[in-house]
């Protein structure tokens, strides 16, 4: 039943969802690591404010985030118009916009997971590496990052899962355009709104469950592989 009713349209929805979730996760990862590291290791002016802004998407209604994105990144918005003029990049009503919405909604989850794992690393290990001749950047790459890897993997998964399920901010910012911005949750919702769409909604829901399970299993496997490595057991 699952495979039977699966046409080009459904595959397109799944592929788009995966792409949006993966791209949003990939592009937010470097920034999340930098933010998490600063929050875990440094005291700076405005730290509380940065912390609050990072966490805002977690507590705001997603529709509000989507609306804010529309205001800022819409073609006439202050950032959106600049991007359009200078780089010819348009985010509103494009799949890249959906990825941006997903990235912002998943960002606090990602930062929290990475921050926790960085905070758990003894900072004196980094000091020891400096005395052995490692520059700040090299110590970060050779000591901090590998030791924080379990948290980074967890954060990446949380962001990816959040991206697969993102609904409110996405539909507000980029609407639901088949083939461009219609991701799994948006399609499932659309099917439930038309008579006789239940079967299709169910099929896509099962796919969503399967995707989530695969992502979870993958991150478990990665975490175990690298966490044992980080503990020094092999």
């Amino acid at each position: 039943m699952l495979i039977e009713g699966f046409g080009a349209h459904e595959w397109q929805i799944v592929a788009l969802s995966l792409r949006v979730a993966f791209v949003s996760m990939l592009f937010s990862l470097p920034l999340a690591i930098i933010v998490a590291y600063s929050l875990a290791r440094h005291q700076f002016i405005g730290k509380t404010i940065v912390d609050a802004i990072v966490h805002l998407p977690l507590v705001l209604p997603p529709v509000v985030v989507g609306f804010a994105l529309l205001m800022l990144f819409g073609r006439r918005g202050p950032i959106g118009s600049l991007l359009d003029q200078w780089f010819g990049i348009v985010l509103a009503f494009r799949w890249t916009g959906a990825a941006l919405a997903s990235a912002i909604m998943g960002f606090p989850l990602m930062v929290r997971a990475i921050r926790l794992s960085i905070a758990a690393i003894d900072p004196r290990l980094e000091v020891a590496a400096r005395t052995l001749g490692g520059s700040r950047a090299w110590v970060f790459a050779s000591i901090t990052l590998p030791l924080a890897l379990p948290g980074i993997i967890t954060g990446a998964l949380l962001s990816f899962a959040r991206g697969l399920g993102e609904f409110g901010a996405t539909i507000t910012f980029v609407s639901s355009i088949p083939g461009e911005t219609e991701t799994l949750p948006l399609a499932i919702f659309a099917f439930t709104q038309v008579p006789g769409g239940d079967a299709a909604a169910l099929r896509l829901s099962v796919v969503a469950v399967l995707l989530s399970l695969v992502a979870l299993a993958l991150s478990e496997w990665l975490t175990r592989r690298f966490a044992t490595h980080a503990d020094g057991r092999r």
Partner: protein, 362 residues
């Protein structure tokens, strides 16, 4: 040569330390909270002093006036921390080579194979730090610091987390390093016995100030050292040389600056240098050479100093040749024997009470 002249204030704690010292192993000695770690951190570039200058073997590492502050990774100062701080995600071999790989090939002078052999690490190379004993971890940490090809090695209480047996094991390796690698070591400790065993020169820190600098023997017997220790320790150190063994009685005769000492037989060859630790409470005094006593060591000397007085007892310093021995006697005995400065006395030291550096009696 280590030339330190720094001032640093952190809240209530003020550090103002100034010393120049040049020795194979410099002991940085003081009670906990005296500022020892702050000083080595400043040398390593981990903590920044408010003012002053630091130079090692003539290379200026820090100078607040000239605005020099070389970052730790370019100072080439090896640092062995109290708790080893091995990288948990790397095996022993990769820990060892971490610093070596970062050092330009032209500056390398210590080979990994040599360090592995010297510190007995060959069977640990594939192991993970988690699985090592405390002593093994410290040995790896020492090897890792040395392979970063440092100008000098700082060791901040490297034995403090170890039990007695492990301490001895690591001490032996440090002695091998001193004799083989010939890299200057600054050894931080609050333990007199570690200073006595390892240090050639000693810098004494008390409440953030440098209260004494000098060669190990004189400092160990100095009042400033006594004042710097948390608990009063009354022992003196005597530098001595092995003369002969008497294997039938299992005794060894030693030669020192004030005569000869007989001690329980030790594992050393004739002419080997040893240090003997004589505790004041193991020394009795007589105003004339006693007869019919079991004590083997009767050393004629002159009373050099009387005091301090603690409770019923008083410590009397006796000049025996060029050496000083301290005796703890009761104040009543002092009075009854009418002992005063400059008087001739005999110090009685039981052979069995003597402790020797660098062997099982330590």
């Amino acid at each position: 040569m280590v030339d330190v002249d720094i001032e640093q204030r952190r809240g209530e704690f003020a550090l103002a330390v100034r010393f120049v010292v040049d020795a194979p192993i410099v002991g940085l000695f003081g009670a906990s909270g005296a500022g020892k770690t702050s000083v080595v951190n400043a040398i390593a570039g981990i903590g920044k002093p408010d003012r002053g200058s630091i130079s090692i073997n003539g290379t200026m590492l820090f100078d607040s006036v000239r605005g020099i502050d070389i970052p730790p990774e370019r100072r080439r100062i090896g640092y062995v921390f109290q708790d080893a701080l091995l990288f948990p995600h790397l095996d022993v071999q990769r820990n060892l080579l971490y610093g070596q790989k970062l050092c330009p090939a032209v500056d390398r002078f210590i080979e990994p194979a040599r360090i592995v052999g010297l510190l007995g690490l060959d069977r640990l190379l594939r192991r993970a730090p988690m699985t090592l004993s405390g002593g093994e971890r410290q040995r790896v940490a020492i090897g890792r610091a040395l392979l970063a090809q440092p100008r000098i090695l700082l060791m901040d209480e490297p034995l403090v987390a170890l039990d007695a047996a492990r301490k001895d094991e690591v001490l032996e390796y440090i002695e091998r390093l001193r004799d083989d690698v010939r890299i200057p070591i600054v050894y931080v400790t609050h333990s007199r016995s570690e200073i006595a065993r390892l240090a050639d020169a000693v810098v004494v820190l008390t409440h953030g100030r440098c209260t004494a600098v000098g060669d190990a023997e004189s400092i160990l017997n100095d009042a400033a050292m006594v004042a710097a220790t948390d608990r009063y320790d009354d022992a003196v150190m005597i530098e001595a040389r092995v003369v002969a063994h008497d294997s039938s009685d299992r005794l060894t005769t030693l030669d020192f600056d004030g005569g000869q000492l007989i001690v329980p037989q030790l594992d050393a060859l004739p002419h080997d240098r040893v240090r003997v630790r004589i505790r004041a409470r193991d020394v009795a005094l007589a105003i004339s050479r006693p007869i019919g006593v079991s004590v083997l060591n009767v050393l004629p000397g002159i009373v050099a100093q009387i005091g301090p007085r603690v409770g019923a007892s008083v410590d009397v310093a006796i000049a025996v040749g060029n050496a000083t021995i301290r005796a703890r006697i009761t104040q009543r005995s002092l009075r009854k024997l009418r002992i005063g400065n400059g008087h001739r006395v005999h110090a009685l030291v039981k052979a069995v009470s003597l402790e020797l550096r660098g062997n099982r009696y330590d």
